[in-house]
Subunit: 890 residues, 2 copies
């Protein structure tokens, strides 16, 4: 008999924190808190295995589940001396989802479950507060009707509005217990009308309905979207947590709150949180009421007027502080906790590792090492490398004049400029058209996920630092300002009103998520430097990582950035970019238009000094570090003139005529340029092109060698698929190197290698390795040919592929291990088989993707190379990969 | 010590026929003839290993070669009681190349070697024929000067012309021995002038010079071109045959000839050949003098006036007839022999398996089985499957009126129509521009190979049935008419003159290589049927082959052809071709232009009946045989209108406007359509398209089932690279099948499989096999993505790749075993691992290529599928592959 249900509570706890996969994050942590002796309302967790069973068996349950649930329910009843469905001291339950990865707000929750016409009387007897009890009952019917029975919430809300209208009420608070009592049968009748079946009076039926609904919600489209974006597998499933209800809304001695053991935005080691007196938990998160600060210090710092918890409930506050310490010491990470105060009693409802800004993550990790709580490896593992991106992209330039039109909470740091739109759907559409947009909403909800993902930044006029918008934006690394209460949104006219200013849809605004400001128009941005905690952590990463991290860079600026960001060298310098300068492109075109080799050589001779000087500059910056130079790769027609003016100019330079140029243009046009006459194929047909490039590289090498600098250029021949392509061109480059060395009387070292970017190259990597001094996997092209996906054309179906779950990730972002990865593995094995210790890197965009970097570590690559701005991400990811490898080995 | 030299002759023979790789074809067969006791001038063979050694060691020889050559030379001297370089009974030698695959005329030959001012006197003493001797000496200087020293032959010829002019001679025959004697020092002086060094008097120096020249000629550009076209590896090398000279030009009792043991053109079991009295061997082949028939029967049949060998040399003829029988019985194949009669003595200079027309090949194979000489397997192996192509392509329609303007020898059968050109170079250029051309030459030479390959047919005004043009054309399967002596070529005006007719370059003519006729303009062609020997052989092939042979066919005509040619079913029916009909294309366009799914469905509903009827027709023809239907594959923009008229028409049908259509056209444009939104990707985004197609297939299946026919359609989903693509679409097709079955109340069987045509599909073939009922490798696309070669764009570099030897074969013609083949192997293994016995075929163009078919057999494929016209080729190739497999296993 399988165990499907795990109890937790002071009367016996069966789970623990390490059972996250089975119990979900929430369930595992509830169990763990119970084991630590913290005050947790008792309950039980139905495992994620049941979820999988459920979907694999046509939404049925395992046979023995029912008895296990009933047994666990009895334990809760006995522990609390309450009875589920009883007219006396009835037990009420909350039913919540809980997957192993947090998916906030994506799945269903049912509260107050167990209420019916009988138990409601027991509640009234017990609480003597019929207003609270009948309101709770009404809320339950509404929530259950909506979540489990699928009746639109609007229907209930409008019935309530009608009722209030009829009686001249304006607020919910105007309704008495009697009013709610009247509304309940009206709601129930409507449920029957809409749903066809009566509202279930039987609490057990209610319970099974709610359990089914939570499991069912694992497959709702919001949850699917969230998982797709966050790369969470469908196979994980959700657990269901059934827990005794506690109420934060029974009166003034009740409250509910959310708190972080350290500041999730700045990382400061200060207790931080928000709470609401006389409210249910959802009220804080939903951003409907603006919450009160947790601590006095916080209150002072933020200038908020409302009383802090430290003031309202000093005793419970100090109890909470102890719990904070206890939990952080236990979990060795910053905790995000939910609590409820029911009639003066503190209950912990949840704890989990808290989401944080990258700034906070770096400080917390660095602080905790200093505090002796964790070691350096733990610190490195705690940080999400992808999040570093936030620090590596533009921030507002503090020296720029800005026109601030409003202010809100600094919910997620960084600056963002974009055109404003007022719905998630518009955000997605505009972004799909290449617009950079700022999503402006009163408050966001889980339905907005897609639109938030598409935005550059998010601005809400309501909600706090822990509102949905704030949490999600921090997770996504999007700048976000919340609770900008001095702004108003007019949805009908799609206008944002800030005092006398009005901004229409499409107007450009800038938000500063670090300071909480909203500004008119675009604002200058600057790149922050790597200092402080960031630098500390990066230092640790470099100590631990075993893979090199290089940058893809060709301009001096890029090379400087790469060096500043700690690159170990250049892994890909694309020489073709060097030909696009206005004073060079016409010589390039002259070369392409030349009718014979001699004239091509003449044109190339004019390009030689430019290219040599480029390399000299690059080599001076990179002194002492390796530089991989890729010879000409793109098809020649990319260099040809497009406009009539350009054509006329080229005709002049190349002593040709417009007609001849157009004929040549047509000759060079290709049906599938990606699979056409490019890469080393160009040099098999026009060897003089690579000859010139090799000469430029080696003359530059000799020149900097004379200056006393140390450069060993790594000449990379692209798009090799056939052994002889490489051997012929390798011979050519070698000949040029020897000639230059003799001519200039300078000895220098160099390597000749190849870009492995075609399936065939992987398949014959043994043959290629006999000739190549190094491999660099060009995973962009390799992904294109392995999948048969053109990166330029994939957009017409990629979105649908992701939406339908045909693929879970864009293979051009995260390396496809199953397909492309297999070819790379084969290439590495075959290559190293022939040449043990062969230097092997990757230089596709995947070189900056943490998951792909981890795969590169598994493959034993020598280095990864990525865009200069992603170098720190890659350094951290490489360190994490090395740690994981060590752990696997141990 | 390696053995580099093998003797042959009546005084000790060291080689044999099976040592072809080491001794080359000529050397191995000379040795074999010696072992059979036939009269062969003695000599020795320097092995192909020496050739490889030579090129791997900077054109030097192994150390011990010299002593081995000298020892072997001594054996020849002793056997013949002659001495190399002696003034008394001097030994003269012929030095000839000989690779393991015949490469007629591609490499160097030196005759009469050993003559110098001393030995020439010995020859005169011996022969008492100073005219013959001094002419031989002159010829030797000329040949050696040209071949070994690289002096243009024209130089010698013009000196000879000058000499004749000065003395009023017109023919070479006018010169006396004294004249030749005078010319010799003139030639020698010129050699010194041109070459800088005196003509070598030392016979040993002559010998080593000639050996080096023959080895060197292995790498000349003609030889490289020939090898490239015939797919012969550079690594094989040539042997050098050094053999005692015999002379067919010592007088009236001398002759030289070429003969075939059966007629190489018709296949008849009749001795066939040509000879010339008082001539050297080269004279017959070069086509300078029109030769005499070998037999009396031949003379009568051809109406030639000159005396046959049977009449001139009755005794030697009967000796030759015995040798013919002996060799054929020994080699069990039709022999192509060269002989020389020196002063009444018959010498055999060469024997090899004779080239033949495919018609002859079939008859010879079939006859030899009947004669009990060989068995069926031997017969099948004897036939080159590629050559069958000649029988499967148009022949002249006998019922058409033709305007015959000339007549020649029927040198290679089949009809060809094309525009005439007068040089090999023009032939290559015109053909590269897509022109079908007929190459018209006085006679062809090895330099013309490229142009001959590019032509549809060849016409020469000189030369016999064994001339260069005839031999090469038969090998290539090109129609050819030789010796059309009533036509005249005016090269200056690029005109062909036939009596009063004149034809300019570019005019269209037709040649009939079966009858030897030349006709004005294009002539109707018909397809011959498979009857007689062809049918017999095909029957044997079917008995022996283990792989199925299907056809790629979609129209009823193609299906009929496929069936007539013996296809086992249809392996690829491309449904998109069915949409291009004028009455359908606009509905297709309407579908593409539809703004939503409902309108797309409406348009598709109009296409359904057409498609269903297509399948009904196809299924009726293929009753009882499998039919694989591939669902829509190409990108949608291939169906969109191009001209303004078309756009207007579509606008009308689709109730759209020109602007909207142009917008949609632009939306659908792709940078790399081959890697774009096509194949199953279309159906993931627009499932309704495959839904309609599946419905059409199953409704057709049900319809023919009601007629009592048996069809199990195999629905093939193209371009799958991801498991879920296949599983989602397989579910969709299954649902349609079940729905159609229920609606029409007809039970039918069907299979759902996939085209494996992306590297990724091969890499995850195990996952795919879990869903697929069958695989069909789409080797065209797989070759494109594995190499990264677009088939539409490869022409810009393929030619150069082949010329430079970067690749030896077009990978779109012959499957690249090393790269693409490895992926296929992986796919087969992974697929069968999951589903043993999985039905696997290939349906790329490689399915009709004999070498690729052999590879498919090695992989254990279930069937190959090719164009209907190649089905018989594939049947034979499959049989050969099965035989080879058996032989490997044994």
């Amino acid at each position: 008999m399988s165990k499907w249900v795990y109890n937790f509570g002071s009367y016996g706890t069966e789970g623990k924190a390490s059972m996250k996969d089975l119990l979900g994050g929430k369930g595992a942590n509830l169990a763990e808190m119970c084991s630590l002796g913290l005050p947790v309302p008792p309950g039980f967790t139905i495992t994620t295995e049941v979820c999988n069973w459920y979907f694999e068996h046509d939404k049925k349950y395992p046979e023995d589940l029912k008895s296990q649930v009933m047994n666990s329910l009895r334990v809760v009843e006995e522990g609390l001396s309450r009875k589920f469905g009883s007219g006396e001291k009835p037990l009420l339950l909350s039913i919540r989802s809980g997957a192993s990865s947090s998916m906030p707000g994506m799945m269903d929750t049912v509260l107050n479950l167990g209420l019916n016409d009988r138990t409601v009387d027991g509640m009234v007897d017990e609480t003597r507060d019929d207003r609270f009890v009948y309101d709770s009952y009404r809320r339950f019917i509404q929530m259950y009707g909506n979540v489990v029975l699928g009746i639109e919430n609007e229907i209930f809300e409008s019935m309530l509005e009608d009722y209030k209208g009829d009686r001249g009420f304006s607020l919910d608070a105007d309704l008495t217990g009697e009013d709610w009592k009247v509304l309940i049968p009206i709601f129930k009748n409507r449920v029957k009308e809409e749903f066809g079946v009566s509202f279930p009076e039987d609490p057990k039926a209610q319970l099974w309905g709610a359990i089914g609904s939570v499991f069912g919600s694992w497959m709702n489209s919001r949850a699917k979207t969230y998982r797709r974006i966050h790369g969470i597998s469908e196979k994980l499933g959700t657990a269901v947590n059934v827990q005794a209800m506690v109420f934060g809304n029974m009166g003034k001695d009740c409250a509910t709150g959310v708190c972080f053991s350290r500041n999730p935005s700045t990382g400061e080691n200060k207790f931080f949180g928000e709470f609401l007196v006389n409210a249910q938990g959802e009220d804080v998160v939903a951003g409907i009421r603006t919450p009160q600060p947790l601590t006095l210090a916080e209150k002072k710092a933020s200038g908020i007027n409302s009383a802090s918890m430290e003031e309202c409930f000093p005793g419970l506050f100090s109890e909470l502080c102890k719990i904070r310490e206890r939990l952080e010491a236990h979990y060795k990470d910053m905790q995000d906790m939910e609590f409820t105060i029911e009639r003066g009693h503190l209950w912990m409802l949840q704890t989990r590792n808290g989401k944080r800004t990258i700034k906070a993550a770096l400080q917390i990790a660095s602080d905790m090492v200093k505090e002796g709580l964790i070691n350096k490896q733990d610190a490195l593992i705690m940080i999400n490398p992808g999040q570093l991106d936030q620090l590596l992209h533009p921030m507002l330039d503090p020296n720029t004049q800005t026109d601030v039109i409003g202010h809100g909470l600094p919910a997620s740091p960084g600056g963002a400029t974009g055109r404003i739109v007022f719905s998630a759907r518009d955000a997605e559409e505009w972004a799909a058209n290449g617009e950079k947009i700022i999503l402006v909403r009163t408050e966001t909800s889980p339905e907005d996920i897609g639109g938030m993902h598409a935005a550059e930044g998010i601005l809400t006029t309501r909600g706090g630092m822990t509102s949905h918008a704030a949490v999600v934006a921090r997770g996504m690394g999007l700048p976000c300002v919340t609770g900008a209460t001095d702004l108003r949104i007019d949805l009908i006219n799609k206008t944002l009103i800030a005092g006398s200013h009005k901004f229409l849809e499409g107007d450009t605004l800038t938000i500063d998520g670090t300071a909480g400001n909203i500004m008119v128009g675009a604002v200058n941005m600057i790149l922050p430097e790597i200092t402080g905690d960031f630098q500390t952590i990066m230092g640790w990463a470099d100590e631990i990582r075993t893979m090199g991290v290089r940058a893809n860079a060709e301009t001096p600026e890029e090379a400087e950035t790469a060096k500043n960001f700690g690159a170990d060298g250049i892994g890909l310098s694309r020489t073709e970019h060097m030909f696009f300068d206005p004073d060079r492109i016409n010589h390039m075109r002259e070369m392409i238009l030349a009718p014979d080799q001699n004239l091509r050589r003449a044109a190339l001779a004019k390009l030689l000094p430019y290219q040599r000087d480029d390399f000299i500059q690059l080599f001076r910056i990179m002194d002492g570090l390796p530089v991989t130079v890729r010879l000409l790769d793109p098809p020649l027609n990319e260099f040809l003139p497009r406009t009539e003016d350009e054509i006329l100019k080229v005709a002049e330079v190349a002593e040709s005529d417009v007609k001849a140029i157009n004929v040549r243009k047509q000759e060079l046009e290709e049906s599938n340029p990606m699979l056409g006459h490019r890469g080393c194929r160009l040099a098999i047909t026009y060897p003089e092109v690579y000859e010139m490039q090799a000469r430029a590289i080696f003359e530059a090498t000799a020149a900097v060698a004379k200056e006393g600098l140390e450069i060993t250029p790594e000449v990379m021949i692209p798009l090799v698929g056939i052994k002889l392509e490489l051997s012929v061109l390798s011979d050519l480059v070698t000949q040029v190197a020897e000639a230059v060395s003799t001519e200039l009387g300078v000895e220098f070292k160099y390597m000749i290698g190849t870009m492995v970017e075609l399936p065939r190259a992987c398949l014959i990597a043994d043959e290629i390795a006999k000739i190549a001094d190094f491999f660099s996997f060009g995973t962009n092209d390799l992904t294109q040919t392995t999948f048969g996906f053109s990166r330029d054309d994939i957009n017409s179906f990629l979105e649908i592929y992701l939406k339908k779950g045909i693929i879970s990730k864009d293979p051009f972002v995260t390396l496809d291990e199953k397909g492309v990865g297999k070819l790379i593995k084969l290439g590495v094995e075959k290559g190293r088989n022939v040449k043990p210790g062969l230097k092997i890197g990757i230089c596709g965009e995947h070189g900056g993707d943490p998951e792909s970097i981890n795969f590169c570590q598994e493959l034993g690559l020598t280095y990864v190379s990525c865009s200069p701005f992603r170098v720190p991400i890659a350094r951290l990811a490489a360190a994490q990969a090395a740690i994981q490898e060590k752990q696997r080995a141990a």
